[in-house]
Structure formats: structure tokens, C-alpha cells
């Protein structure tokens, strides 16, 4: 076993207990419940970690896009008619109205899609699959603000879910052909003689290698290699959701990329990038930051990178080793992460037993707290860690918890939270500091049980993961 990933073995001094399993399930999921934590203690570390990877094979049924299909069909028909009669639509008011209706249908569907994903995060039997889907969404970013197409965004989300713990090389290939990404980073418009560098740059800077391992010339040569990786010719809306390789738009001349020369295309660029040692380090580092600590141990990252390389970029084995490692359970790592707003909302809904939450509104409130699903602020995604917390978001989280408790977004069931001890066990998964316990106890006595829960969900201990 390489150094950095030595497995954790329980001992009398260092038990496999609720502290360890709570940490594991917080990182690998959303707001674990005491019963789930106890179950993981009982089965031991191997089986607890194995259970995380039992992903369902069936794809979840998507929200209905019927309204979109109808409104798009109307536009498609008009366009077909213009093509048939060879007339220019110029500023045709019916066409414009039909377009605007399709746009509105996409807006409504994006809200429905957000709710669908939130609900899945809260209810799935395989939370790690959704956690990884969220990780890839923040890594291979696309904003629905730029790609206002609920179906394309859904297709991308399913790609992330399908390869959540799969093979990174195959995921990358899927992303390179993904219509939402092709549009977001303009590779759909990258053609011979007129390269558009947007995708080529972010592919290296953010998605695979990290800054400092390539030159501006490499970006330009890569952009040339990606010419012609585009979408079907635009006759219907559906064409914009389908990848097409167009040889006529591809620059097949000689190129030199990261020291390798030839008539390279996108496939070659991916092969060269994946063979570069910067890539497994970058991916391992991002996974470790997300799952372990904002400042992960370099030995751990290095060991994860080596394993990624050795396995041909299989994600599951490296994550499994990470979740089993001593490094993952070190005291300085436990509680070192901060829940993202989406994690906070999903966990709070689970903790408060809200069966039918008002996800559309909760989705916007998570946005106010700094994370709106499908709308990352920039192509870099969300910074995470301490960046989630500032004077404004401290309040937005506490107020979100209060609004959930008040029943504004669905009916809570807090019968299990009957005492300060059960509250601490369910919400914090750790004992509460004695000075705070006194204050919370007094609030429960003088104001009521809900106030105690509200205070506990406002505590710093509830914000950390």
C-alpha cells in the first residue's frame, strides 16, 4: 500500500464509532440521520464504505419536458416553413412570440429540474452518487444562465450521474461532446481559420491540469485541434442538443501541443492531457478538497493521483481507498469542511423530517446563501470552504433554518428532537459545547423547543461538515 492511503484500522484507542461514521456519511452524502450513522458503526469500515458505492443501475425518471417539446415544435414548424419557401423570417412577430414562449417553458422546466435534483439528493439510497454529481457540476461547470435549455442541462446532469464514480477519461470524452458544454464554452462555434479558445483554455486550466503546465501557444494549438467538434446544423431545437463532428470545419493541419506534433484533433488533445502527470494530480487534488479538507495532505493527494494513473482514471477505487484511509479520519480533517448551501438545505430538510418541501423556493434561498444549482457564478464553479461563509451568509443560513422550522416550506416533523441531547445527536452528531448548551437549554425552557432547534441549526457546529 503506497504511503498516503494507508487504511484506517480500528483499535481500542481509536474506535470505529459515531464520530467516524458521522464524518464519513456527512462527506459522502447529505445530513445523515442517527439511524444511518449507527448502522454504519455496526457493519464496520469495509462494509460501510462499500455500501456507499451501491449505485442504482436504473436512471431516475426525468421531470416532464412536455411543455418544452410543444412550444419548440411550434417554432420548429415555422422555421421549416421559412426554409421550404426560402423566405427570410426577419422580424416575424409570430416567430418571435413562439420563441419567447419556448424560452419561458425552459425557465419553468429549469425550476422543475432543480426541484427534481434537490428531491433526489434528499431521498436517494445512494447519496454518494448525488454528491459526486454535484462535485462534477462544480468541476465541469455550465450555467443555465448561458445555456437556457432545460433538456441540455438535464442531459449533462445525467452524464455526471452516469459517470459519477466511473472512468474520468470517458467522462471527459462525454463532456467534450456534451451540448450544454459545447454551447457554454463556445466550442460549437470553433472552426478552421477562426479558432475560439474558450473551451481549449478552460479544459486545461480548470478541468484537467491546472494553471502553469502549458503555454498560451498550447491553448491556441488545442483550440485548432478542437475545431469542428460542434453541434448538428441548426434546423430544430433538438439539433442543438446533438453533437456532430464536421470535417469541413476541422483544421487538420499540423499542430504542436504540449510538445507533441501531428495533425492532432480533440481526441489527441485529450490523450495528451490525460498522459500528463499534472492531470491526475489536479483531479485528485480537487476530489480531496471536496471530500477531505480545504487543505488536503499532499501525501494523500499524491497517493490518490498515483492510483488514478495506475487504474486508468477509474474514480471509484481511488475514492474507496480515500474513504478507508487513515488520512480521511485524522482529527484535523473532521469538521474542517463547511457545508455548501445546497448541502445545508438538503441536510436541514432531512433533519427536520420535511416530507414534501417547497424545493423551488428553497432552491432560490440556497442561491441567496451562495449556491444556486445550475447557475455557478463563473466557469470556475464554487470556491467552497471558507468562501461559503461571510457576514451575510451567516445570517442567510440561520434564517433559512428558521423558515424551514416555521413550516413555510413544508411541514416539519420534529418529534424525534425532544431533548437537547437528541437534538445534538441528530443535528450536530457531536456533543454541544457546555457554554452553548446552557444558553440553548434556557431558550428551550423560556421560548420553546423550536427556538432550541433553531439556535442549534445556527451554530457554527451545524455549518461544518
Amino acid at each position: 500500500m503506497p504511503s498516503g492511503l494507508e487504511p484506517f484500522s480500528p483499535s481500542a484507542q481509536d474506535r470505529w464509532d459515531v464520530g467516524k461514521t458521522g464524518h464519513l456519511l456527512r462527506r459522502a452524502g447529505f445530513g445523515p440521520l442517527p439511524s444511518e450513522i449507527a448502522q454504519a458503526v455496526q457493519v464496520g469500515p469495509d462494509r460501510a464504505v462499500d455500501a456507499l458505492f451501491a449505485f442504482p443501475s436504473d436512471a431516475p425518471s426525468p421531470p416532464s419536458f412536455g411543455e418544452i417539446r410543444q412550444s419548440e415544435a411550434r417554432v420548429d414548424e415555422m422555421i421549416a416553413e421559412f426554409i421550404r419557401t426560402k423566405t427570410k423570417p426577419n422580424d416575424n412577430p409570430q416567430l418571435r412570440a413562439a420563441y419567447e414562449e419556448a424560452n419561458r417553458a425552459h425557465g419553468r422546466a429549469l425550476v422543475a429540474l432543480t426541484s427534481w435534483w434537490f428531491d433526489r439528493m434528499a431521498k436517494t439510497r445512494a447519496p454518494l452518487q448525488e454528491k459526486l454529481t454535484l462535485f462534477w457540476h462544480g468541476h465541469f461547470t455550465t450555467s443555465a444562465g448561458d445555456v437556457h435549455d432545460a433538456i441540455a442541462i438535464y442531459n449533462q446532469n445525467q452524464l455526471f450521474r452516469q459517470f459519477a464514480a466511473g472512468n474520468f477519461a470517458r467522462l471527459l470524452d462525454g463532456v467534450a461532446r456534451d451540448s450544454a458544454m459545447l454551447r457554454y464554452l463556445n466550442n460549437d462555434a470553433n472552426r478552421k481559420g477562426h479558432p475560439n479558445e474558450n473551451w481549449a483554455r478552460e479544459l486545461m486550466e480548470l478541468f484537467t491540469m491546472g494553471i502553469g503546465h502549458y503555454t498560451e501557444a498550447d491553448i491556441l494549438e488545442s483550440a485548432r485541434a478542437w475545431t469542428g467538434w460542434t453541434l448538428r446544423e441548426y434546423r430544430t431545437f433538438e439539433d442543438r442538443r446533438n453533437f456532430a463532428l464536421k470535417p469541413a470545419l476541422h483544421d487538420d493541419g499540423p499542430k504542436t501541443f504540449l510538445g507533441q506534433s501531428g495533425n492532432l484533433d480533440g481526441t489527441d488533445v485529450m490523450r495528451i492531457i490525460l498522459a500528463n502527470p499534472a492531470t491526475p494530480r489536479w483531479i485528485a487534488g480537487k476530489l480531496a478538497k471536496f471530500f477531505v479538507s480545504p487543505t488536503p495532505d499532499p501525501d494523500l493527494v499524491e497517493a490518490m493521483a498515483r492510483q488514478l494513473t495506475a487504474s486508468g482514471y477509474e474514480i471509484a477505487p481511488v475514492l474507496r481507498a480515500m474513504f478507508r484511509s487513515q488520512a480521511f479520519y485524522r482529527p484535523e480533517v473532521v469538521h474542517a469542511n463547511i457545508k455548501s448551501p445546497v448541502e445545508f438545505v438538503v441536510g436541514a430538510v432531512r433533519h427536520l423530517g420535511i416530507a414534501d418541501p417547497d424545493w423551488p423556493r428553497l432552491g432560490f434561498l440556497a442561491g441567496d446563501a451562495g449556491q444556486r444549482l445550475f447557475y455557478p457564478p463563473t466557469v470556475k464553479g464554487w470556491d467552497g470552504g471558507q468562501a461559503w461563509i461571510n457576514a451575510a451568509t451567516v445570517f442567510s443560513r440561520a434564517n433559512l433554518a428558521g423558515a424551514l422550522l416555521s413550516g413555510k416550506f413544508g411541514t416539519p416533523d420534529i418529534t424525534a428532537l425532544s431533548s437537547i441531547e437528541t437534538m445534538a445527536a441528530q443535528l450536530l452528531q457531536r456533543p454541544i459545547a457546555s457554554s452553548r448548551k446552557t444558553v440553548v437549554a434556557r431558550a428551550i425552557k423560556n421560548i420553546g423547543r423550536e427556538a432550541g432547534i433553531h439556535l442549534m441549526m445556527s451554530l457554527p457546529e451545524y455549518q461544518v461538515s
Binding site: F395, A398, Q463
Partner: protein, 429 residues
């Protein structure tokens, strides 16, 4: 368990608390002895009174604004050759000199220019331009192109060194939910503000003042906690104090400003104007307008952004003038980089380098400062910078804020003749 102290108590007893460190809010933990400088008024000025210190409003144009289509070199054929689809036609340029003019969407800024209240600084950038959004934005925020200094922001360092007793609202960021790196320093003297109403702990129905007090108490730091928890408690204490400040001001907010456009950028500027007139002790406001990363189909998008920028700043300046506050406020616009000179195949432009900055206020030396960068002598297809942005920062710090810039910028950068001295501010040599 002691009750949470008031801010005033903190400031009067502050120095004894500093020794205790762990239980003081972040903005006091590194407090030096009070220095009576014009910046440090937290001790001397009642928060309800009208302050009269200089105020800086930074406008960040995120994504890389196309400087060439903002201040257009209409007299240069090379510009039209490089941009057959995207160049602003000569007849629509709002001419300000024989060779330069504004984008037609900036009509209101042209009026400010003619009125002597707007200065353009040409070709601003830094050596070895970085074409990554994030790295370049980081360089502008830290004022540290080499990346060798501490990862703090230039405004954060300004608060640390010049404003040791300022409260936590010395800086207000309205950029979204995140605190811009520019305002991060060794101590929390800046907060993110999206809405004054939301900037408070809301008790449950029936919780009332009792629950608010309990919240203050549970957020007190406990010695020996994990670093992340400790960071959260300190941030929360800053938030509670800032919330008191903001709410005092919010109680006096009046919707008296002139008409503003309804977009988020303009509404943020309206809130800035409201906060200034309500007597907020804030010295630097940070406002963002995003969407400038125009790799494709740039024309309509960039036109709309220019219109938004122009209309928003115009409403803001008119509002301040009407309130008699325009002498106190300087607006500075910037973007992380400009765009490439030649357009790309997608009727857009790729990441570039140097670009113009705007300074707007009563004290600017109006006009266009610096020659237009050459359109033929390029660096990898980009304009070569001719003005280091740190010189612009140094000028703002010294001639507007009236404080030394060398320590904040880790070096001496020549100041420019782009601001007229404010009354009482000595001109540095």
C-alpha cells in the same frame, strides 16, 4: 456567561479584550492603538452623524470587458480591419477626441465626460499579462502580479493599516454572496451585503428579543475550538456587529433617490447612494456587473452591458449630486483584462490584455489620459499595456484617500495626474 457587548463597549474596552484575542471579533483582534487619521473615525465619529471622509466605489466588470469597443479608436483603420463584424461603426461612435470615442451605449458617460467629471485612463494592465479570468482577477484584487505576496486584497490591506478602529462595515461588497478577495485582509472590516433587511438574525415567531440575545450568546467563541468552528464564530460576531450598524442605517434609508433603471447593477448603486446619505461609516463600496466574457455573439450582449453600465452610473451620479454628496464619492471601473484585438469566428473576442479604466467624480482631471495603445505592435495579438494598474491604485489611495500607498501596494508606483487634489489632502511628490 456574560452578555454580548455592544460595539461601543468593544471600542472603549477594546484594547483589554484584544489581549484575550479569542473572544474578540475578528476586526478587533489585530487592532493597533488608535491613530487619529482621517480614515479612522470609528472612535471619534458617532455612527449617526454625517461623516465627510472620501468614499470610493469600485465597479468590477467581470469576465473581461472589451476595451476596444468601450473606448473606440475610430480613426484607426487597423481596428476596422481586425473586426469586420464587431467594430463599432464610425458614425455611431460618440467622439471625445480626434481618434477616440465612446460606445454609443455610453451616452450618459459621454455627458459626464463633457461635464468634466469623467477621466479615461488608457491601456491599463500589468507586465506579463495573464489571460486566465481567475488569475488575472486575483492580480487586480491583490495588486500583486508576481503572486509572491500574502493572499490579501489591496483594500483589505488598506483597512488593516489605515483603519485599525473602523467597524466591520468599512467595506461593503455587493458582488453576489462571496466576499471579493480585494477586501480580504488580516481583519474583517468588510462585509457582503445583498439586502439590508436580510442582514440580521430573524428569530422565530414568538422568539423575539430573547431569541436574538440567545443567538448572540451561542455565537461567542469557545477557546480551543477547531479552526473552522473558530472562524465561523468570529465571522458571526463581526456579522452581528455589522448588522447593528446596517440596521441603524437601514432605519434611516429613504427611497428618495432619483429614478434608477430596474436591473440588479443599478439597484445596487441605488443602495450605495442610500447608505451614504444615511450616514453609513463605509469607506469603500464594491459593486459588480458581470457577463463581459463575450467569446461569441458579442455585439448585442456587449451593447446591452454598455447601456447598463452607462445608465446605472448616470443615475447614481445624478442622485448623489441631488443629495449634495457628489464631492465625497469617486467611482473607479475596472475589468480583469480587455479582449483580443481581432474578433474570432463566433462574432466574439477572446481573452486579451490592456484596457481602459474610468474614474468618475468631482475631483477627476477630466479627459483621456495616456495615448491609445498601438493596434499593430501587439503582444500575442493583444494590446501592450502602457499604464500599470497599481499606478492608478496609488493615485486613488494618495490623492483621493489621502494616505500613503507604498505599504499597501508593496512598492512605490508613480501617481498620475488624473485626480485634482481634494481640499486638505497633501499632494505627494
Amino acid at each position: 456567561m456574560q452578555n454580548m457587548m455592544t460595539r461601543r463597549e468593544f471600542l472603549t474596552k477594546g484594547l483589554t479584550i484584544v489581549a484575550a484575542g479569542a473572544t474578540a471579533p475578528m476586526f478587533l483582534t489585530r487592532t493597533a492603538l488608535a491613530i487619529n487619521n482621517p480614515w479612522d473615525q470609528a472612535l471619534t465619529a458617532p455612527t449617526t452623524g454625517r461623516l465627510d471622509g472620501p468614499i470610493l466605489v469600485v465597479v468590477q466588470m467581470g469576465g473581461g470587458n472589451d476595451g476596444l469597443n468601450t473606448v473606440v479608436p475610430f480613426a484607426h483603420d487597423e481596428y476596422y480591419r481586425a473586426r469586420p463584424h464587431l467594430a463599432v461603426p464610425q458614425q455611431s461612435v460618440l467622439r471625445v477626441t480626434d481618434e477616440l470615442g465612446f460606445h454609443p451605449g455610453l451616452k450618459p458617460l459621454k455627458a459626464l465626460f463633457d461635464d468634466g467629471r469623467l477621466a479615461v485612463v488608457q491601456g491599463v494592465g500589468y507586465p506579463n499579462p495573464n489571460r486566465s479570468h481567475f488569475r488575472s482577477m486575483e492580480i487586480w484584487h491583490t495588486a500583486d502580479p508576481a503572486g509572491t505576496g500574502p493572499r490579501t486584497g489591496w483594500l483589505g490591506r488598506l483597512f488593516d493599516s489605515e483603519c485599525p478602529n473602523c467597524g466591520p462595515t468599512a467595506g461593503l461588497a455587493m458582488l453576489g454572496a462571496e466576499m471579493p478577495l480585494a477586501m480580504q485582509g488580516g481583519s474583517g472590516r468588510a462585509v457582503v451585503l445583498e439586502s439590508p433587511q436580510a442582514f440580521a438574525f430573524h428569530p422565530l415567531a414568538g422568539g423575539g428579543a430573547q431569541e436574538v440575545e440567545a443567538y448572540r450568546q451561542v455565537m461567542q467563541p469557545v477557546p480551543g475550538e477547531e479552526p473552522t468552528v473558530d472562524f465561523l464564530t468570529h465571522t458571526a460576531m463581526d456579522a452581528i456587529l455589522a448588522s447593528d450598524d446596517i440596521r441603524r442605517v437601514a432605519g434611516r434609508l429613504s427611497d428618495t433617490g432619483g429614478p434608477y433603471p430596474r436591473d440588479p447593477f443599478s439597484l445596487k448603486l441605488r443602495l450605495v447612494s442610500e447608505l451614504i446619505s444615511a450616514g453609513s461609516p463605509t469607506r469603500v463600496y464594491y459593486v459588480g456587473l458581470g457577463g463581459f466574457d463575450t467569446h461569441a455573439a458579442q455585439a448585442g450582449r456587449h451593447d446591452r452591458l454598455m447601456e447598463q453600465l452607462g445608465a446605472g452610473l448616470d443615475a447614481f451620479v445624478k442622485d448623489l449630486t441631488q443629495k449634495g454628496l457628489s464631492d465625497r464619492v469617486l467611482v473607479m471601473t475596472f475589468s480583469e483584462f480587455g479582449r483580443r484585438v481581432a474578433e474570432n469566428a463566433s462574432a466574439g473576442t477572446d481573452h486579451g490584455a490592456a484596457a481602459p479604466m474610468f474614474l468618475i467624480g468631482a475631483n477627476v482631471a477630466p479627459g483621456v489620459h495616456g495615448p491609445h495603445p498601438s493596434l499593430t505592435d501587439l503582444d500575442q495579438g493583444d494590446l501592450k499595456f502602457q499604464m500599470d494598474f497599481r499606478s492608478v491604485y496609488a493615485t486613488v489611495l494618495e490623492h483621493w484617500m489621502g494616505i500613503g500607498s507604498q505599504q499597501i501596494l508593496s512598492g512605490r508606483f508613480p501617481t498620475l495626474e488624473i485626480l485634482r487634489p481634494r481640499v486638505g489632502v497633501p499632494r505627494s511628490g
